[in-house]
Amino acid sequence: MSNITLVEGINLALARAMEDDDRVVMIGEDVGVNGGVFRATAGLQQRFGPERVADTPLAEGLIAGMAVGMAAEGLRPVAEIQFAGFAYAAIDQILNHAGRLRHRTQGRLSCPMVLRTPCGAGIHAPEHHSESPEAMFAHIPGIRVVYPSSPAKAYGLLLAAIADPDPVVFLEPSRLYRKFKEEVEDDGEPLPLDKAFVVREGTDVTLVAWGAMLHESLKAADELAAEGHFAEVIDLATLKPIDYDTVLASVKKTGRCVVVTEAPRTASLASEISANISEQALLSLLAPVARVTAWDTVTPMFRLEEHYMPNSTRIAAAARKVLEYQ
């Protein structure tokens, strides 16, 4: 048991997976001697050597495409894209190949790879360093998308992602990398994929969120509780496939729901979840589902990022509206 940050949880899971399984290799820019620009791979090259922890030439399409080839040949590559804003160059490989290899060879080849990338705003980073591409990845068939919200979840979900026989895009909220610590046992135990977690029980409204937005939602739940409204808060954790059983059970209980995402609103994952709830639980809904999202605008440079990302104030305001709805 150690009290560690989220990025340390990632590092611990990577080390554990490499220790337990020779097939696990890391590739990416600066993952080697530098240990990653966020230190997620710190110490791994020293421990497992430069062949298993390899700095790549600077090319995101290459990184994703190489991982496909490595995975098909029996390795378990964990590829890092340095920031999500540079992962768009990898979409072609993820969509046209990683997510398709098993299907198009009818099970002959498969693609057990993980593509890790920090994402989201809130750390005053330079331009293109604060993107939230989760909806694009969640739209891609044949893959999983996972988004941890805490050190323990990062550890357990990343182990599960590496062990999974199919490709996983693993999105890490850079804003939470060092925000808080949590006790994590390095026991090699994966957390279940495809499962949402009810992290706070409540009766009046369901807040669905993931990553950094989970914490804003929890703060909003505190605010609401002070006003006598009890929010149930769900950490979606796996964004594809979505555990609608858990989400719908909660909404059927509370009758009200707010879905939160850091990404632009249109065609976001919040839209997906809102649509599905309204379709599946219309009769239980006491109010329209509300989405709290980033605006349909370019991720601004950091002077304005506070006005771009949703925060607990906006979430609580949306929840109040939903709660007041008659």
Partner: protein, 363 residues
């Protein structure tokens, strides 16, 4: 001003278009009979190709990408790769795949719109037909990386067209091959066209081989219509890679004697004269002329071969036609190792619908 580096690109050919030797042959060609299997394969390829085109014309398969003219490249590569090597083909590589052991009826399945065309049980590590141009190149780098990491004496051989050399994926992959000295051989099949775009419009590079200079890797040109040259140059590159000597980029010069695919009409963008000239260079006649001259091949053998090929083609067509149609449920079967619960209803609804369809058609 000083000179920091110098480079040269070599071109290899042993047989001229008339099948005459232009240089001392490599040792594997000292017994001409040893090349008869390659010749036979080339003839089989052409027969299968002609049949596939005909089947497209009669609606038995969909759009098809012909191999006409590149048989020497396919046979040369197929001949030197080992079973344990990995081939990463483009869509136009059914010839090599045949030599990898993959039953050619899979080619028909593939172009017939059926994923089972990529199953390749006979060569299970080879990659499927690859349609998005150049995207198989990074896969090849990954495959080669895995081989090197595990200290296996294996080689990843990737093939692509002249057009593909303009894609970033191509370049990123050969550059990575050089950076890690991977057991990677890339063969560019320069058939002079990317659909309608001629080679000279793809790049100002005098040769496509020289793209390897950008990656700091070995690179050379070979006459892709000369089976002996292809076998020689690819063979040396593959064995160098296998021995840890690093990657090679090869440009095999040939010509697409067919339309780009059956959906294309090449008369829109190239002249009948050009095509006629290029037919004089084609690989099968060239090799046959040489074999004849060497006394290693007779008209009787040629006749028997034509018969064999026709029979084989017929068998392949039959195997294709005998393959029961895929069921709609196939769409979800191999999507994930285990279909996530969240999609179970979709798979179920799909089955229901298709059962209803069946009933509907029956009723």
């Amino acid at each position: 001003m000083t000179v920091a580096a110098t480079f040269e690109i070599r071109f290899t050919r042993y047989l001229d278009p008339q099948g005459r030797e232009t240089a001392a042959l490599p040792s594997f060609a000292s017994d001409p009979r040893a090349l008869v299997p390659d010749y036979r394969a080339m003839v089989f390829m052409r027969a299968l190709d002609a049949k596939a085109v005909a089947m497209q014309r009669t609606g038995q398969i969909g759009t098809y990408a012909s191999t006409l003219g590149k048989e020497a490249i396919d046979a040369g590569i197929g001949g030197v790769l080992r079973k344990e090597d990995v081939l990463l083909p483009s869509y136009r590589e059914s010839g090599v795949l045949m030599l990898r052991g993959v039953s050619p009826h899979r080619t028909l399945l593939y172009w017939g719109g059926d994923e089972r065309g990529n199953m390749f049980p006979e060569s299970p590590h080879d990659f499927p037909f690859n349609v998005p141009i150049g995207t198989q190149m990074p896969h090849a780098a990954g495959v080669a990386y895995a081989m090197k990491l595990r200290r296996e004496p294996r080689v990843a051989l990737a093939m692509c067209g002249d057009g593909a050399t303009s894609k970033g994926d191509f370049y990123e992959a050969i550059n990575a091959g050089g950076a890690w000295q991977l057991p990677l051989v890339v063969v560019v099949v320069n058939n002079q066209y990317a659909i309608s775009v001629p080679r000279r419009m793809q790049s100002a590079a005098q040769t496509l081989a020289q793209k390897g200079i950008a990656a700091g890797i070995a690179c050379e040109q070979v006459d892709g219509n000369d089976l002996i040259a292809v076998r020689d140059v690819v063979g040396r590159a593959v064995e160098r890679a296998r021995a840890g000597g690093g990657p090679t980029l090869l440009e095999a010069l040939t010509y697409r004697l067919s339309d780009h695919t059956t959906a294309d009409d090449a008369t829109r963008y190239r002249s009948a004269e050009e095509l006629k000239e290029q037919w004089k260079q084609e690989p099968i006649v060239r090799l046959r002329t040489w074999l004849h001259a060497k006394g290693a091949w007779s008209p009787a053998e040629e006749q028997a071969l034509a018969k064999d090929a026709a029979a084989h083609v017929q068998k392949m067509v039959q195997a294709y036609l005998d393959t029961p149609p895929p069921g709609p449920e196939q769409m979800f079967e191999h999507l994930y190792a285990r279909l996530p619960h969240a999609y179970a209803w979709q798979a179920a609804e799909l089955s229901e619908e298709s059962e209803r369809d069946v009933e509907h058609h029956a009723g």
